[in-house]
Amino acid sequence: MNNTGNIIEIKGLKKSYDNGKIKALNGMDLEVKKGEFISIMGPSGSGKSSLLNMIGALDRADEGTITVAGIDLMKTKKLYEFRSKEIGFVFQMHNLIPNLSVLENVQIPMFETKTSSKDMKKRALELLKAVNLEDKINQKPTKLSGGERQRVAIARALVNHPSIILADEPTGSLDSKTGEVILNLLKDLHSKENVTLVMVTHEPYVGKMAERIVTVLDGKCQNIISTL
């Protein structure tokens, strides 16, 4: 993080696919302050998920600059290390490993952190308690409801004390009531864990829960609205 207090700084970011035929990001500019909760909205194909992938170092941009948590993602080679330490992902589909228990699923990101098995279990239990799943730690994901699975995924995202949570349509596969519970949980944990929350959504009522709404269109930030 730099002295401006921004945890994410993106300038003129470009990314195209299919030999330049598809311009996913076309000169994107964005700044996000540490501890902020922003939602990214826009129609399908506008570049929301591509932006999230760039912030989460799942992909590299073609041009521009992107600095996240003080790390220049255009230059760093150890993207896996950055993802392990700084980023927690929550996907639309929970993407839990079906043959592992809830507790084991939450521990998965800690394999790269040299944490002892005892401490891994302790941290996972702490988070499962925070998402109210302490009584289901030994269950397999297939036995859980959609909302419970997403809560496990949130615990997994937070387990390595990341600076940023990137949530890609976290309520997309849930009914509205369960979705609201998940959103409140995310917002609550974002405050308690002092973590920056960047959420992609196409549902206006979900977007309004954030402190700022960033609208993306044709690979560019079109509008930034503060909801505060």
């Binding site: 992909d59 392990s84 790269e112």
Partner: protein, 389 residues
């Protein structure tokens, strides 16, 4: 949870597919271990023919079979050969086969069909004080006396097959003989036979003063081949010689052929098994593409993903090693127990190198079979993997 426990758990997500892969590799391991145990046992027995103390040269009549029955030589020949330079000791032996043995155990007074009912029991007539020349260094019990007409000693293999022990009685040529002792030489042919006084066997088989072979022990500093040649030169066109080393070499050549054949069969089985493992692991990686994307998203290094898939492949093949080894050992023991005529000849080897070889093969199949799927998984782009449907 440790990384190792994750690697051990993962292969069993699709139990049927993993079980089929394990069966494929297990067949290869069974072939390697079972053939290894059998050929190893035969090799051990061959080595025993070269043991110290036993005669180095067997003299037979030219044109006859060294393992044949009946007397074709005069027994005075044994003494005559002592005059040849380099000969330390000699003894004449008579080989015979009793094809209608009935065994009666004095302790239980029960009767049963004898060992080798199809091929007969091999009986050798030899003087008691010359037993060491045939490789019998010690007798459990006592050896027969040369003048006895109703005493025999029995090889450990046939004794076990017939459930006989010292003091029991065996019927040979319609006459009851007391077993005064048992012996173990390590040579599967000798241990599957019976020894009795030379004169007794000569009388029983109407071969008075006749012998089938002369066993020759050479002096300590003599060259076996030279002495062997001297004997043949002294009796041209009458006597032929075979050295123990020749016999061992002939058997070893046969074993070498069996070994080569077993390796060819093993390699084929391994190849089929390896294809099965590659198929299993590729299918597993395809099915788990999205999951691999998640693992990359949460910060797993490519190397860890490679290690996980490779580890899963090795877990499959090592499990196949354990199952294959158990099946092979139990199977070989079972076959040898249920078939005394084979079990009497083959004592399976449990040499560690047989199991080590099977372990190395299983491990290598795991590595080779898992390498490409593991590499492919580790090189997946996280964004593409997460989009995979």
């Amino acid at each position: 949870m440790s990384f190792l426990s994750l690697v051990v758990k993962n292969p069993f997500r699709n139990k049927t597919r993993s079980a089929l892969a394990i069966v494929g590799i297990s067949i290869g391991i069974i072939v390697i271990v079972a053939l290894g145990m059998v050929t190893g046992g035969l090799e051990n027995s061959t080595q025993s023919t070269l043991k110290a103390g036993a005669a180095e040269i067997t003299v037979i009549q030219t044109g006859s079979n060294s393992f044949g029955s009946g007397g074709s030589l005069n027994e005075s020949l044994a003494a005559s050969l002592l005059s040849i330079n380099g000969v330390k000791d000699t003894t004449g032996i008579l080989r015979a086969t009793n094809t209608s043995t009935t065994v009666t155990a004095t302790t239980t007074n029960s009767s049963s069909s004898g060992f080798g009912a199809e091929g007969g029991v091999s009986i050798t007539g030899i003087e008691a004080n010359k037993l060491s020349l045939i490789g019998i260094d010690s007798v459990n019990g006592t050896a027969f006396t040369n003048t006895s007409t109703n005493q025999v000693i029995m090889g450990i293999t046939i004794a076990q097959s017939l459930n006989k022990t010292v003091g029991d009685t065996i019927n040979l040529y319609g006459k009851n003989f007391t077993i005064t002792g048992t012996y173990e030489t390590g040579n599967f042919i000798t241990d599957a036979g019976i020894m009795m006084p030379l004169s007794t066997l000569q009388n029983l088989t109407s071969n008075q003063n006749k012998i089938s072979d002369v066993l020759v022990k050479v002096t300590d500093n003599a060259n076996v081949t030279t002495v062997s040649q001297s004997i043949e030169n002294a009796y041209p066109n009458q006597l032929s010689t075979t050295t123990a080393a020749d016999q061992a070499n002939r058997i070893n050549q046969g074993l070498s052929f069996i070994n080569t054949a077993s390796w060819a069969i093993s390699l084929l089985a391994i190849f089929i098994g390896a294809v099965g493992v590659i198929n299993t692991m590729i299918m597993s990686v395809y099915e788990r593409t999205r999951e691999i994307g998640v693992l990359k998203a949460v910060g797993w290094r490519d190397r860890r993903i490679l290690g996980m898939i490779l580890g899963e492949s090795i877990v499959l093949t090592l499990l196949a090693f354990v199952i294959g080894t158990i099946v092979a050992v139990v199977g070989v023991e079972l076959i040898l127990t249920l078939s005394p005529s084979v079990g009497g000849i083959i004592k399976p080897s449990f040499a560690y190198d047989i199991f080590l070889r099977a372990f190395v093969v299983a491990f290598l199949v795991g590595v080779i079979g898992g390498l490409y799927p593991a590499y492919r998984a580790s090189r997946l782009s996280p964004t593409e993997a997460l989009r995979y449907e």
